[in-house]
Amino acid sequence: MSEQATETKKTTTTTTTGKAKYQPSDFLKAVLGRPVIVKLNSGVSYRGILACLDGYMNIAMEQTEEYDDGQLKAKYGDCFIRGNNVHYISTIKRR
Protein backbone atom coordinates (compact mmCIF):
# COMPACT_ATOMS: atom_id res chain seq x y z
CA MET A 1 0.00 0.00 0.00
CA SER A 2 1.37 3.36 -0.91
CA GLU A 3 -0.30 6.76 -1.21
CA GLN A 4 -4.03 6.32 -0.69
CA ALA A 5 -6.96 6.72 1.62
CA THR A 6 -6.44 10.15 3.06
CA GLU A 7 -6.08 11.82 -0.31
CA THR A 8 -9.23 12.74 -2.12
CA LYS A 9 -8.77 11.59 -5.65
CA LYS A 10 -11.66 12.25 -7.96
CA THR A 11 -10.08 10.48 -10.91
CA THR A 12 -10.38 6.98 -9.50
CA THR A 13 -13.22 4.48 -9.72
CA THR A 14 -15.84 6.43 -11.59
CA THR A 15 -19.34 5.33 -10.80
CA THR A 16 -20.94 3.46 -13.66
CA THR A 17 -24.25 3.31 -11.91
CA GLY A 18 -24.32 6.89 -10.70
CA LYS A 19 -25.01 5.83 -7.13
CA ALA A 20 -23.78 8.08 -4.36
CA LYS A 21 -20.40 6.88 -3.13
CA TYR A 22 -18.97 7.18 0.33
CA GLN A 23 -15.31 6.62 -0.25
CA PRO A 24 -12.64 5.67 2.30
CA SER A 25 -11.40 9.27 2.30
CA ASP A 26 -14.88 10.48 3.27
CA PHE A 27 -15.02 7.97 6.09
CA LEU A 28 -11.64 9.08 7.39
CA LYS A 29 -12.64 12.74 7.35
CA ALA A 30 -15.75 11.85 9.32
CA VAL A 31 -14.00 9.82 12.04
CA LEU A 32 -10.99 12.09 12.63
CA GLY A 33 -11.00 13.22 16.25
CA ARG A 34 -13.70 10.71 17.17
CA PRO A 35 -13.59 7.49 19.18
CA VAL A 36 -12.86 4.45 17.03
CA ILE A 37 -11.92 0.80 17.27
CA VAL A 38 -8.88 -0.25 15.29
CA LYS A 39 -8.65 -4.00 14.84
CA LEU A 40 -5.38 -5.57 13.82
CA ASN A 41 -4.87 -8.69 11.76
CA SER A 42 -3.67 -10.45 14.92
CA GLY A 43 -7.13 -9.99 16.45
CA VAL A 44 -6.01 -7.43 19.03
CA SER A 45 -8.09 -4.25 18.99
CA TYR A 46 -7.46 -0.70 20.11
CA ARG A 47 -10.13 1.68 21.32
CA GLY A 48 -9.36 5.39 21.44
CA ILE A 49 -9.59 8.80 19.79
CA LEU A 50 -8.31 8.84 16.21
CA ALA A 51 -5.81 11.74 16.17
CA CYS A 52 -4.53 11.35 12.62
CA LEU A 53 -3.53 8.89 9.93
CA ASP A 54 -1.65 8.74 6.64
CA GLY A 55 -1.76 6.96 3.29
CA TYR A 56 -0.20 3.79 4.69
CA MET A 57 -2.99 3.60 7.27
CA ASN A 58 -0.44 4.39 9.95
CA ILE A 59 -2.54 5.66 12.84
CA ALA A 60 -1.99 7.99 15.78
CA MET A 61 -4.46 7.51 18.62
CA GLU A 62 -5.10 9.13 21.99
CA GLN A 63 -6.43 7.62 25.24
CA THR A 64 -5.91 4.19 23.78
CA GLU A 65 -7.05 0.96 25.39
CA GLU A 66 -5.74 -2.37 24.15
CA TYR A 67 -8.15 -5.31 24.10
CA ASP A 68 -7.28 -8.92 23.46
CA ASP A 69 -10.09 -11.48 23.48
CA GLY A 70 -12.42 -8.79 24.84
CA GLN A 71 -10.22 -8.17 27.87
CA LEU A 72 -8.51 -4.87 28.62
CA LYS A 73 -4.78 -5.56 28.46
CA ALA A 74 -3.10 -2.14 28.53
CA LYS A 75 -3.61 1.61 28.28
CA TYR A 76 -1.51 4.08 26.33
CA GLY A 77 -1.72 7.87 26.44
CA ASP A 78 -0.69 8.30 22.84
CA CYS A 79 0.08 5.51 20.48
CA PHE A 80 1.23 4.95 16.94
CA ILE A 81 0.02 1.89 15.04
CA ARG A 82 1.91 0.80 11.92
CA GLY A 83 -0.57 0.64 9.04
CA ASN A 84 0.35 -2.77 7.67
CA ASN A 85 -1.15 -4.44 10.77
CA VAL A 86 -4.56 -2.79 10.45
CA HIS A 87 -7.54 -5.02 9.60
CA TYR A 88 -10.20 -2.33 9.93
CA ILE A 89 -11.10 0.99 11.51
CA SER A 90 -14.59 1.03 12.98
CA THR A 91 -16.83 3.77 14.32
CA ILE A 92 -18.11 3.30 17.86
CA LYS A 93 -21.85 3.16 18.29
CA ARG A 94 -23.15 5.78 20.65
CA ARG A 95 -25.24 4.50 23.52
Binding site: M1, Q4, A5, K9, T12, T13, T15, T16, T17, K19, K21, Y22, Q23, P24, S25, D26, F27, L28, V31, I37, K39, N41, G43, M57, G83, N84, V86, H87, Y88, I89, S90, T91, I92, K93
Partner: protein, 92 residues
Protein backbone atom coordinates in the same frame (compact mmCIF):
# COMPACT_ATOMS: atom_id res chain seq x y z
CA UNK B 1 -14.05 -5.04 -24.66
CA UNK B 2 -17.62 -3.84 -24.99
CA UNK B 3 -19.97 -5.73 -22.73
CA UNK B 4 -17.18 -7.18 -20.63
CA UNK B 5 -17.28 -6.22 -17.01
CA UNK B 6 -13.98 -5.17 -15.48
CA UNK B 7 -13.35 -6.52 -11.97
CA UNK B 8 -13.61 -3.12 -10.30
CA UNK B 9 -16.77 -2.32 -12.24
CA UNK B 10 -18.35 -5.35 -10.62
CA UNK B 11 -17.34 -4.03 -7.21
CA UNK B 12 -18.71 -0.64 -8.21
CA UNK B 13 -22.07 -2.21 -9.05
CA UNK B 14 -22.20 -3.65 -5.55
CA UNK B 15 -22.32 -0.20 -3.96
CA UNK B 16 -25.45 0.00 -1.86
CA UNK B 17 -25.87 -3.76 -1.60
CA UNK B 18 -24.63 -6.47 0.73
CA UNK B 19 -21.22 -7.91 0.05
CA UNK B 20 -19.29 -10.80 1.56
CA UNK B 21 -15.55 -10.28 1.82
CA UNK B 22 -13.24 -13.20 2.54
CA UNK B 23 -9.86 -12.11 3.87
CA UNK B 24 -6.53 -13.82 3.74
CA UNK B 25 -6.38 -15.93 6.89
CA UNK B 26 -9.35 -16.73 9.10
CA UNK B 27 -11.47 -13.60 8.78
CA UNK B 28 -14.63 -12.82 6.83
CA UNK B 29 -16.72 -9.68 6.74
CA UNK B 30 -20.28 -9.09 5.54
CA UNK B 31 -21.73 -5.60 5.15
CA UNK B 32 -23.41 -3.04 2.92
CA UNK B 33 -20.82 -1.55 0.57
CA UNK B 34 -20.77 2.24 0.69
CA UNK B 35 -17.63 2.90 -1.34
CA UNK B 36 -14.08 1.85 -2.11
CA UNK B 37 -10.83 3.21 -3.52
CA UNK B 38 -8.19 1.98 -5.95
CA UNK B 39 -6.69 -0.33 -3.32
CA UNK B 40 -10.14 -1.80 -2.69
CA UNK B 41 -10.15 -0.41 0.83
CA UNK B 42 -13.87 -0.45 1.53
CA UNK B 43 -16.37 1.48 3.63
CA UNK B 44 -19.00 -0.98 4.91
CA UNK B 45 -22.17 -0.39 6.95
CA UNK B 46 -24.05 -2.76 9.31
CA UNK B 47 -21.15 -5.14 9.41
CA UNK B 48 -20.92 -8.67 10.74
CA UNK B 49 -17.36 -9.78 11.28
CA UNK B 50 -16.64 -13.50 11.35
CA UNK B 51 -13.52 -15.12 12.71
CA UNK B 52 -13.18 -18.79 11.88
CA UNK B 53 -11.80 -20.70 14.85
CA UNK B 54 -11.49 -24.37 15.72
CA UNK B 55 -14.63 -23.99 17.85
CA UNK B 56 -16.64 -22.52 14.97
CA UNK B 57 -17.51 -19.07 13.64
CA UNK B 58 -17.13 -16.17 16.04
CA UNK B 59 -19.47 -13.26 15.26
CA UNK B 60 -19.05 -9.55 15.94
CA UNK B 61 -21.45 -6.75 14.99
CA UNK B 62 -20.20 -3.31 13.88
CA UNK B 63 -21.83 -0.07 12.76
CA UNK B 64 -19.51 1.23 10.08
CA UNK B 65 -15.95 0.28 9.20
CA UNK B 66 -13.13 1.09 6.84
CA UNK B 67 -11.76 -2.30 5.80
CA UNK B 68 -8.11 -2.46 4.80
CA UNK B 69 -7.93 -3.78 1.24
CA UNK B 70 -4.48 -5.25 1.76
CA UNK B 71 -5.66 -8.65 2.94
CA UNK B 72 -8.80 -9.00 0.86
CA UNK B 73 -8.93 -12.33 -0.91
CA UNK B 74 -12.42 -12.93 -2.36
CA UNK B 75 -15.51 -10.77 -2.64
CA UNK B 76 -18.98 -12.25 -3.17
CA UNK B 77 -21.75 -9.82 -4.19
CA UNK B 78 -24.88 -10.32 -2.09
CA UNK B 79 -23.14 -13.21 -0.37
CA UNK B 80 -23.91 -14.55 3.06
CA UNK B 81 -21.55 -17.03 4.70
CA UNK B 82 -24.26 -18.47 6.92
CA UNK B 83 -26.53 -19.27 3.96
CA UNK B 84 -23.75 -20.89 1.93
CA UNK B 85 -22.34 -22.94 4.78
CA UNK B 86 -25.74 -24.48 5.46
CA UNK B 87 -26.30 -25.27 1.78
CA UNK B 88 -22.90 -26.86 1.36
CA UNK B 89 -23.45 -29.12 4.33
CA UNK B 90 -26.83 -30.25 3.03
CA UNK B 91 -25.49 -31.03 -0.45
CA UNK B 92 -22.66 -33.20 0.81
Amino acid sequence: MAGRLLPLELVDRCIGSRIWVIMKGDKEVVGTLRGFDEYVNMVLDDVTEYTVTAAGREKNQLDQILLNGNNVCIMVPGGDPEASSSSSSSSS
